[in-house]
């Protein structure tokens, strides 16, 4: 479904990603794990078109999307839940979801997609008229995911969904992501909470200093001594 070939990207003179190869098949859940500063967020931003890649190929459903701007990528069916949630704090929960369905095709389907989001996240339904900025961190993360679902994506990019959340909330959030997965969405997730995320996904990539160091089935990766020591803390 999504294939990255030799993607190189960075900011100014600094190169954050070197020759990254990555594949996500339809219906799969894939994680990218790695330490701070490895280039995980850059990778997500390259896929969603927020920053351009310098070299390499980005193919989604047989179409090359390298160099396309962000709004165009959304129209192709990739929704990005950015790091730090980035909801619209002054707008209500309902209006945040409405913004998620900004593109014409998504707008038409607004009633059913919002019903589905409220079904997935009942807490949001109760707070429809509340300002999004007044929600708790966990609820804001759900809203950010809900907003992404409103664009009726085929692939969802989740950037550090557990960041800044209480441990209990993290577990609930991973349960919700599992449910979203079961509904047939393809997911690419970036996480620092390696132990939890490896239980959720089928495959994972280990990114270190801008390069893919390892890839494999999630359970195999979790059992590698090297990964266990460095990231899982066992």
């Amino acid at each position: 479904m999504l294939e990255l070939k030799n993607i190189t990207a960075g900011y100014g003179h600094f190169t954050a990603l070197w020759d990254v190869q990555l594949r996500v098949a339809r219906g799969e859940a894939v994680a990218v794990v790695g330490p701070n500063g490895a280039g995980k967020t850059t990778l997500m931003r390259v896929i969603s078109g927020l920053i351009p890649s310098r070299a390499g190929e980005l193919v989604f459903e047989g179409e090359s999307l390298a160099g396309r701007p962000a709004h165009d990528i959304v129209a192709h069916g990739i929704a990005h839940v950015p790091e730090g949630r980035r909801i619209f704090p002054a707008l209500t929960v309902g209006d945040n979801l409405r913004m998620g369905a900004f593109l014409p095709a998504a707008r038409q389907a607004f009633p059913e997609s919002s019903a589905r989001v409220y079904d997935l996240f009942p807490a949001l339904a109760e707070r429809q008229r509340q300002r999004a900025g007044s929600l708790s961190g966990g609820e804001q993360q759900m809203l950010a995911i809900g907003r992404a679902l409103m664009s009726r994506p085929k692939l969802i990019l989740l950037d550090e969904p557990s960041m800044g959340l209480a441990p209990v909330m993290v577990l609930r959030l991973f349960d919700l992501i599992r449910r979203i997965r079961e509904e047939g969405y393809t997911i690419l997730v970036v996480e620092q909470n390696v132990r939890q995320v490896l239980k959720l996904v089928d495959r994972a990539y280990l990114l270190e200093v801008g390069r893919i160091k390892m890839e494999g089935r999630a359970h195999e990766l979790a059992e590698q001594d090297f990964v266990r020591k460095a990231y899982v803390g066992l």
Binding site: S48, G49, L50, P69, A70, H71, V74, A75, A79, H80, V81, P82, R86, I87, F88, P89, A90, L91, D95, R98, M99, G100, F102, L103, A106, R147, A148, M150, S151
Partner: protein, 331 residues
């Protein structure tokens, strides 16, 4: 019919009839002040199209001056009727606005930095007008070449103030109409999202650059139109009253005072600032030059701290809250 709509119709009827009400020799003065309120409210409204979405421009004088000077120069030197010259002036100003706005959008110049860039742009236009004194008349300003008759449709010059009264009333209504259209469109939702967080807006599929440039072009076009109308009415243009920091800030003062998030906010604010400066002028004459500006400055600080949605915006908010309270009390 709702009471609000009834009040709007009554107000409109009163405004339409006003030039024919006897005013005991004060008619010319009243008309003059009202025309100024219409024109500056229209310009304030044009500014608020950007201001309400966080695109705070301190350089709208540039658009105003470009519009007024382009139309005037085309008429004076080429005899081009302001009907066409005005359109050329608006197109030119939009082009200029896009040249300024595109790099700002491309390189993410936002908030305070955007305000500073526009501040400089306004000043550059003022200095350019002064420097090109051979044809712009420099800091002395420029008088429109008079038409042959007292009432010329071709030159849009009329000795009778009532013509400009109705013209500026129509233009003011046009501004309100554009504001309402925008307020009900998806562009407003998109601009609100962009104003909150550009990255998030892009990630839900909003074409950030297109919307920002679009709103800037619209705001600049209307401001330039206001400048053309101003030049036609006063038949005199001057770099200090139409370009530069002074006039740019005056527009912002008026809108912040009245409220930039509501339809009539810019009008209320403009009416108040013009009334204040007229009052000070009549009472103190030229004794306290700069007094009006000092008072505006103080008010501006107080308003930004205590009434960020302005006099009109806050009053309306209060009324609305009271109404919902009453409604919930009776229910």
């Amino acid at each position: 019919m709702t009471p609000g709509r009834l009040a709007a119709l009554a107000l409109l009827a009163a405004l339409a009839a006003a030039p024919f009400v006897p005013m005991a020799g004060m008619r010319q003065y009243v008309l003059h002040v009202t025309i100024q309120i219409f024109i500056w409210s229209f310009i304030g409204g044009a500014w608020s199209l950007m201001g309400r979405f966080g695109l705070v421009s301190l350089g709208h004088g540039a658009f105003l001056g470009l519009g007024a000077y382009a139309a005037t120069l085309l008429w004076n030197f080429y005899g081009l009727t302001p009907w066409v010259g005005g359109l050329v002036a608006v197109a030119l100003t939009v082009g200029f606005a896009l040249v300024v706005a595109y790099p700002c959008s491309r390189f993410r110049i936002l908030g305070h930095y955007f305000a500073l860039v526009t501040l400089a742009v306004g000043e550059v236009v003022r200095l350019l007008i002064i420097a090109e004194r051979d044809w712009t008349g420099g800091s002395l300003g420029l008088t429109l070449r008079p038409a042959r008759t007292d009432a010329s449709l071709l030159a849009i010059q009329y000795a009778d103030k009532r013509v400009f009264y109705y013209a500026s009333l129509v233009v003011w209504l046009l501004g309100l109409w554009v504001w309402t259209l925008l307020d009900r469109s998806m562009a407003r939702a998109a601009m609100e999202a962009i104003g909150e967080d550009e990255t998030a807006a892009a990630s839900v599929g909003i074409h950030v650059t297109r919307f920002k440039l679009g709103i800037t072009a619209l705001s600049a076009a209307l401001t330039a139109l206001g400048g053309v109308l101003y030049a036609q009415y006063f038949t005199y243009v001057n770099p200090d009253t139409l370009a530069g920091i002074g006039v740019s800030l005056r527009i912002v003062f008026a809108v912040v005072l009245g409220g930039m998030y509501s339809l009539l906010g810019p009008t209320v604010g403009t009416a108040l600032t013009i009334a204040l400066s007229e009052y000070l002028r009549v009472i103190f004459g030229v004794k306290f030059i700069g007094m009006a500006e000092t008072i505006y400055g103080l008010l501006l600080v107080l308003f930004i701290i205590f009434l960020p949605s302005g006099i009109y915006g806050s009053a309306r908010g209060l009324l609305r809250r009271r109404r919902t309270l009453e409604a919930s009390a009776t229910a």
